[in-house]
Symmetry: C2
DNA sequence: TTATTATGTCCAAAGTTCTTGACATATTCA
DNA sequence: TGAATATGTCAAGAACTTTGGACATAATAA
């Protein structure tokens, strides 16, 4: 599963650290997800979507 | 996190077993998710959405 | 250049999801 | 009513996500 987190985060001008804080996780978690080490939980996917102002269906690309 | 899986599944007239097969998981997994024992992984959330013909953002209610 | 900030990566532990196998109850139907 | 199908639940273990701490490199700014 791919995602647009890094691109949207940069467009918003925030760091991995800031995004992590907003979502209640640590920086490494954001880093791993952006670099496709693993997918977030559904709950974190929703938090990321909310913080980045996009739908889950837009933020993640399934297939 | 709540979801509309049971309602949509029944509207489509399929069993937990059939939905499970379509999504590549076992029946207990569907049962647990419908009854809020735990949330699905993001990947399974997308599979469920695809099978039930709704967006992830519609199928799951965050907050 | 030097200091600071941001990002990438590693490891082990803790927590969550999913499976397998099984059994109980509920629902449907002949 | 009895048989078959559907749903609910349990427990142990495998697989995956997240954390905390640490260190390396990259990028930015003074």
């Amino acid at each position: 599963m791919k995602n647009k987190i890094k691109a949207i985060r940069k467009k918003l001008g925030i760091t991995q650290e800031q995004l992590a804080e907003d979502c209640g996780v640590v920086r490494q978690t954001i880093n791993c997800i952006e670099n496709n080490k693993y997918d977030p939980t559904l709950e974190l996917a929703f938090k990321l979507s909310k913080t980045l102002n996009v739908k889950v269906d837009e933020l993640f690309i399934y297939e």
